[in-house]
Symmetry: C2
Subunit: 748 residues, 2 copies
Amino acid sequence: MRDLFKRLASWLLVAASLSPLAGFAIEHPGLLLTRDGVESIRANLGKAPLFDDSLRSAREDVDQEIALGIDVPVPQDFSGGYTHERHKRNFFVAQKAALLYQILDEPRYGNYVRDMLLEYAALYPTLPLHPKERSYARGRLFWQCLNDANWLLYMAQAYDAVYEFLSVEDRELLERDLFRPFADFISLDNPQFYNRVHNHSAWGSAAVGMIGVVMGDEVLIDRALYGFEASVDVNARDNDGGLISTDGQGRGFLANLDAPFSPDGYYTEGPYYQRYAMYPFLAFSIAMENAYPDKLVLQQKDTVLVKATYALLNLADSQGEFFPINDAQKGMSIINSSLVTAVDAAYLYGEQDPALLSVASEQGQVALDQSGMAVALAIEEGHAKPFLKRSVILRDGPRGEQGGIAVLRDPDAGLETVFKFSAHGLSHGHFDKLAIAVHDAGREVLQDYGLVRFVNIEQKGGGNYLPENKSWAKQTVAANTLVVDGQTQFGGEYDASSRNHSDLLFSDIGDDSFQIVSAREENAYAGSVMQRTVAMLRSPQENPVVLDVLRVTSDSPRTYDLPFHYLGQVIHTNFSFTQDNELRVLGDGHGYEHLWREAVGEDIGTSATFTWLDVGRFNTITTATQNDDRLFLARLGANDPDFNLRRDPTLIVHRESDGPTVFASTIQSHGGYDPVSESAVDVPGDVDRVEVLLSTQAYEAVGIHWHGGERSLLIVAHREVSAGQNHKLGIGGREYHWTGPFHWVPLL
Amino acid sequence: MRDLFKRLASWLLVAASLSPLAGFAIEHPGLLLTRDGVESIRANLGKAPLFDDSLRSAREDVDQEIALGIDVPVPQDFSGGYTHERHKRNFFVAQKAALLYQILDEPRYGNYVRDMLLEYAALYPTLPLHPKERSYARGRLFWQCLNDANWLLYMAQAYDAVYEFLSVEDRELLERDLFRPFADFISLDNPQFYNRVHNHSAWGSAAVGMIGVVMGDEVLIDRALYGFEASVDVNARDNDGGLISTDGQGRGFLANLDAPFSPDGYYTEGPYYQRYAMYPFLAFSIAMENAYPDKLVLQQKDTVLVKATYALLNLADSQGEFFPINDAQKGMSIINSSLVTAVDAAYLYGEQDPALLSVASEQGQVALDQSGMAVALAIEEGHAKPFLKRSVILRDGPRGEQGGIAVLRDPDAGLETVFKFSAHGLSHGHFDKLAIAVHDAGREVLQDYGLVRFVNIEQKGGGNYLPENKSWAKQTVAANTLVVDGQTQFGGEYDASSRNHSDLLFSDIGDDSFQIVSAREENAYAGSVMQRTVAMLRSPQENPVVLDVLRVTSDSPRTYDLPFHYLGQVIHTNFSFTQDNELRVLGDGHGYEHLWREAVGEDIGTSATFTWLDVGRFNTITTATQNDDRLFLARLGANDPDFNLRRDPTLIVHRESDGPTVFASTIQSHGGYDPVSESAVDVPGDVDRVEVLLSTQAYEAVGIHWHGGERSLLIVAHREVSAGQNHKLGIGGREYHWTGPFHWVPLL
């Protein structure tokens, strides 16, 4: 039966390649859902439960809206407000209703879409710019062009699917009063929005391209693919502080496809925005594949969109939630509808990977087009295989030359470590080079704060980014990475950070019992070079442990802060601390102004242990310390007049150093607490102490002393990191010989 | 088939009643598991999956321990430490192994129990008092006699089940060197532990009684039932500050069964300790029912233990977790093993209520005795019916004369309000008369803090109560109830609080769409009388809303604080507030020293709205205010040197008043936020504002203005609260006539 689906898939592809050539009107429907696709779907209804369920669910949704009646209100609100949410819901529902019209051949769905579009055609010519003035590119239906582009991309599909249902007069009216002026407005009238390399422009160009395909308008398709000539103020910025100017990266859909995606499919803004951008990228690429296959849009950059789908799936934790890299709202996950389209498309237009079928099953729905039917049929036939998430290193940059992101995963436990050594990530990037985050079975052990925004909650600043996103979330101290002299990396300057990236030094993720990644950052702080090495290893008790070794060399005495953003209740420390009687902020600016200093640990000794309990699991940081180190227990929430920040805690290792210094720490999640049986299991964890045995310009050596008395050793090379390089090094009277950039001795 | 089980059950009861009379040795086994029970179990193995699963699970557990080998270490640790946990595990495992021996008739289980008991018999005579000196009644195996009693109660069952397996010599040795001195130690040597009315003494007397039954020792059984003569220092207190002296309430098991249980089965310490005490109460009562049915122990107080099981199930939230009334660790739930025994016993020895079967299914296990088999067979035969939790009012006090607890439940939504107007609750009581707590589908909307203790986590103060339990958790400001002049109720004096209780004024919980309970407290603050009326009603949109009206009358000007202990992130307020630049504590003593003042709202207007988001749900307090009121946003964590407290937030309405004043508020959980679709539903909720329309010595009238423009009205009488009383009252030019203590007008 597998072959049958391959045949189905290739037949669909062949059918698509028979579509008319550019310059001619396409068959309708002809975007994501094609006329041939409709036939194959109708032939298979009742045979693929996941498709049937998705169809039923869409039908219930649309029928409910039809019963409520159409409302096309005069625009007024920010996101979260009524008019915003109504227009947003309209384009989702119209697209669904139009697909239902095609699949079910029931005229009432066609009528609903026609009536709604005609109402828009009556309203649109009367609209000035949206009354909310916050955006650098105000829309007409919405407060920002971005949402207008969302509307057009969905409505293009709705129009395509009811095209044949409409009278010629209605079509002429819609194209004249609505679609053409709409497409021109978000492009020609808003070059600062349209001509960038940014997810905004991906949406804009895809939307213009989609409606261009429907209308058979080569001018619009050309404008979609390549942008248009327009002068842009090179210093202009968007609302997030991102530069408008694309700085020679080109413009239009193809440039947007090229620049932000790395050859590995990593999208430089991070998975939260990648998820958002995947839909327009895929929608227009597939539409072009179906309508103008000779343009080879889907095949661009070695079919990077299929790779990008895998990259996204790999950038989700064990529960399917995306790691909140850069600006990212937590909780966004692979069940998002944009991922449904991506997974189904990657299946049909990719290699029909059976592992994608298990992801689709987890999503619980499929797209209402031929890709969704192909996936649902294959699942029903039992072809699904597990999607196994392993450790992965994804390069960043258009050519993979701008560092990257590593995810180390313990295959048996749910422990995952994200290590970021990427480019800045455009306007949604954070100043957190060499940051780590640790997750355990979907729980955050060391968190990345994410963004400071309540997306679509109008009561919180119109649902938009809040001031603390810039003053806290983007700052270096908000991340689990080193802060030098209390300053944010690159002085918090977007331009400087955007010109630089960290570099991968070496990695070895092939052995489940010991995985290692090492990266270097030379530009974040003038005069300082940082190398961070992150390993996931096994204790003698076979429990996974993260070893984190950060070495910094500076050209003058510096003050260093290494925050560990834990979550939960303090259970045990091996040092004493003094609570402050009045709480003051930890510092001025660079995010420190948001941290209340709750307590200070002093006289730390040579290894500090910090154990906390969170959601039934114990976690311990054990870090090699120097006697003058101070440990700050701090909590977020200062200078937060509108209570926009969570009151999350952090532990900061504070060190003043004249010379090179090493922060070596283990992080472990262990044991657990059950409030029903009231039993506590393995509160201490496996690590007794961590010790820096040696630190030179060429090597560092870190020892782990386990509670059972065993010792392990990691040696990392700084200078000679090639795989074939032989090394020898004496430590404590013993000589070690090895080949390659690191040497791990599990039991000394 | 139902009849078959009734027959089985009554046959078992009849069989039990044929057991030997007092003064003769009983058949073995003869406690919870009887010889006849063993036969019926063996006959039904393989027929009742839930029993078979429970048996398999017990077998896996015990086999694993047998493989590990027996360890009976010299006592050394607090709870959470190795020796404590090992001895605790030993008695659990030995009891299970002995039951397995009976059910499976495999000698290796008998050998295991024998060998372990002989090791204890060798160790016990050598033991001094436990080296940890914290307890008012130190044990020998454990740091407190309470745990020694736990050990004896389980080991008595283990001994009973292997009694026939042991040689006469072994039995003599065990009784001489272990069981008799053990029973004497926890009773005769520790009257301050044994002769009280307290859960400690329930355990103590039940344990002594159980071993007495096994050994056929009437002296011990008598001592168990009635205690023994001993002089007690009337001022002596336990480690929680509770008085040792029982003050005429009697002593021994029967007194413990009488005094703390109300006729409704409410246990005055609250459900957390009731759950803990249920096991010894049931175990010894059932043992007596089986061995000495003429003593009618199980039938005491109208079979209160069966009522108590229902009370416990009704004091759990919609997810089965107990409301944390008084000292209570959150997360304890009806799946606790103690509740398994209780539910199975209440089924077999009660009325064979099919609703209990669905609870047993939810628990996922049954007791390894005839009650467990009866339940499992009945479930397998399909007799289970849903256990519907409705609103309930449980009286407190031995005769139901000391106030009580109400739980108002909306039957369609998951909203539940707990209202406490009970007695103090012995040494585990809190000073929180008239407190409320609100839960929504298992989530805390307004929380009761619970206790400050990490039970069995040795690293946190030996797993014992922490100082902040007294300085915070027990204090009035820690609860959702009124604080007068910044003082805790009864000046924080246990004795005074224990002598007093609140009183139920009136209630009507018969109508799902409007339920109401009103209670009065006259003693908590000298010169102040408080009446709180809590209603659960429906908005015009049919959403459940809590209306909370608290009237206080004092003999002089006072300052009032009404805290609302919410959880989550602030989303919207209709008032402005100013954040403090440095955090100071909110006050001195009475719990205020633990609260950081984060911000102050001023110029509040006449109705304050406070909306927060927690775990995907919006919640709003709307409270009628006076213009001089201040609203404190505070956060827990000050004066907490060991970080024992959660950093939870609170909203406090602060009012200075010369005369009587009313705090009228609505609390609603509404709408929700989905981070995957990023959609926010119903952020504002239904309530626009709350207004006190009238407040006299006889009546108060509160209006709710809904967002849709509708208005509702509640009038509450203070003086004439009888059901048949006719009232008339003019408000705003309109006259209202009604009968009974309250008048609810859903739409004015």
